[in-house]
Symmetry: C2
Amino acid sequence: MSRMPAQVRDLIMELPDSKIREVSLNSIGKPGLIALWFGESDEETPEFIRDAAKAALDGGETFYSPNSGIEPLRAEIRNYMGRVYGRDLDLNRFTVTASGMNAIMLSFQALVDPGDNVLVVSPVWPNCSETIRIMGGEIRPVVLDERDGAWSLDLQKLFDAADEKTKALFINSPGNPTGWMMSEGERDEILLWARKRGIWIMADDVYARLVYDRAHAPAFIEIAEPEDRLIAINSFSKSWSMTGWRLGWITAPAALEHDLAKLNEYNIAGPTTFVQHAGVAALRDGDPYVDGLVERLRRRRDLVTQSLGRFSRVRYTPPDAAFYAFFAVEGMADSLKFALRLRDEAGVGVAPGIAFGQSGEGYLRLCFASSERALSEAMERLRPYLD
Amino acid sequence: MSRMPAQVRDLIMELPDSKIREVSLNSIGKPGLIALWFGESDEETPEFIRDAAKAALDGGETFYSPNSGIEPLRAEIRNYMGRVYGRDLDLNRFTVTASGMNAIMLSFQALVDPGDNVLVVSPVWPNCSETIRIMGGEIRPVVLDERDGAWSLDLQKLFDAADEKTKALFINSPGNPTGWMMSEGERDEILLWARKRGIWIMADDVYARLVYDRAHAPAFIEIAEPEDRLIAINSFSKSWSMTGWRLGWITAPAALEHDLAKLNEYNIAGPTTFVQHAGVAALRDGDPYVDGLVERLRRRRDLVTQSLGRFSRVRYTPPDAAFYAFFAVEGMADSLKFALRLRDEAGVGVAPGIAFGQSGEGYLRLCFASSERALSEAMERLRPYLD
């Protein structure tokens, strides 16, 4: 009789933990701790969005909904994309998903056979890579170059990394954790290259609206043809402070609508029905909130920059987008150990750079979507360790 | 320049549609149609559960939550499992998931490598099989025997279907669509066999409480040792009428807690935070609702049985569990075509047997979780086609 401990796939046992989760484990809500480790604003979801969810609950929106998303939400996504990007996109190009994360999983389920590889512009939020791994694919990091804390992409390096098994390029711009933002010229060149090579672009656009030097980040969806192999990922989490809601959407060629609907059905059926109604309100009435959030984030970025710029061990350039300070610490060999020390000694929670791949080692990520008071206090606490 | 239509994995393009969705496509909410095709009660979620969600929204529960689920919900699941099954299970055996469907996907991601096979007691809800396919696994249906409309499992047939590549047995008891319920004796034998063979049991227990001849269906979790290779799937959808909420849970060996947390992180992060708080209320205060629902369903089953028993073309035995009438129709060669005809001519939506695998051909599934008035009218409309 075999009574060994349960065994799961080797791939799954070897799947690394999110090292962000590892630092925060058992410390969420610890009194006195200033938690800047997650990619999450400290603001509750705006009331008008919560009210829309409550109204949908009162209205009995508690039943199954269509696999591609409820029609009012798909229509509102269409309006939103038209307003932001100036493109009139067909309704059948949108699939509502249970978060940006879930959109990434569905997309890689659609694309990645065992043995395929995916180019991943790095350092980057680890979850996209782990998703590739779960599907049996190979991750090929394409590492951004850093100079004085500013990040740039070597296009030739990117193009050279592809081979005949390359199924997709995953590109998160504005990027988490770096804040790197693809230029319009880079975008155009990458699209031409991907077209020629028949490689899918997975554009993780979840920070597209959290930008400080223009209205929105350059996006493939602005210039792509309807049939281009482009999957653009979006999420309600960041721009509308809805991390706990689990709602996002995919914009893809219409030819994928049916396959994505099937994958939605076989993964989760679809996001929570009344949450989708709240999504309608967020997109329809949320522009003032997003604008205000960007202004608050800009002040917070500047506050953090003031301190980081003065700390002698820190190499950092403030980002033009997203809500992270990602900075190098001179002499720090092990970012995970250092982050644990900051947590335990300084009472400040930051994410270790190693959480974002090997190319992130030597850096720390601090989410500045917190109150100025908390950020000022955090900077004071960090000074002895960084200065 | 390659501008072919987008191509996804062959596996995904070949993935069948849910034929339940196929029949219902474009007809949801069609005036006059009596829709009995989905596995969904026509009752809105009870008010006390909706109130709990609204209170959580008011309380600012709009942020990320832990990957295994919020602690109050895991604690309440423990209470519930203790109350129903008389077992005191450790907290680290529970993982909260975004629906029963999502629990199945996470579990097969954990277990199925390409080339592995999974035994599936059939006919059964198709989604579990498609999930296996997405992961590159092989489905081995083990077909229940039907006599006079009653279903039974030939254990020897089940045991003989396994080979060295068999990773798991998927068993949905009470079963959708058949209503078949595993006996205590069968359960005991299957567990001994699976233990000896080192084969995982995935027990889909979502209908465990919708039972008409006893308090709950026999379940592996009642007798399993903590280390047994058992993954028990549960859902809030059926017993608490929460289909649109996307909330469920897994009970597994504690050794899997960590891997399931990782998979939650990399699939969806976790279910909607305030929905989890509503789940606490459902489990804590929901027993009277579940009892009442079972009584209503019993009357509805009896009403449907009265008619079906009289129809000359129908072969049917009323089930002791779940909320489906699954009946053979004499002379019906193509259940999908027949279901489309019933939809278009009779204005009654039922699911074709073929939706539940080849072994379901020749049958129709009718969900009787609708008002007695709707069911009576549906039976009248169906008479010319079935009598």
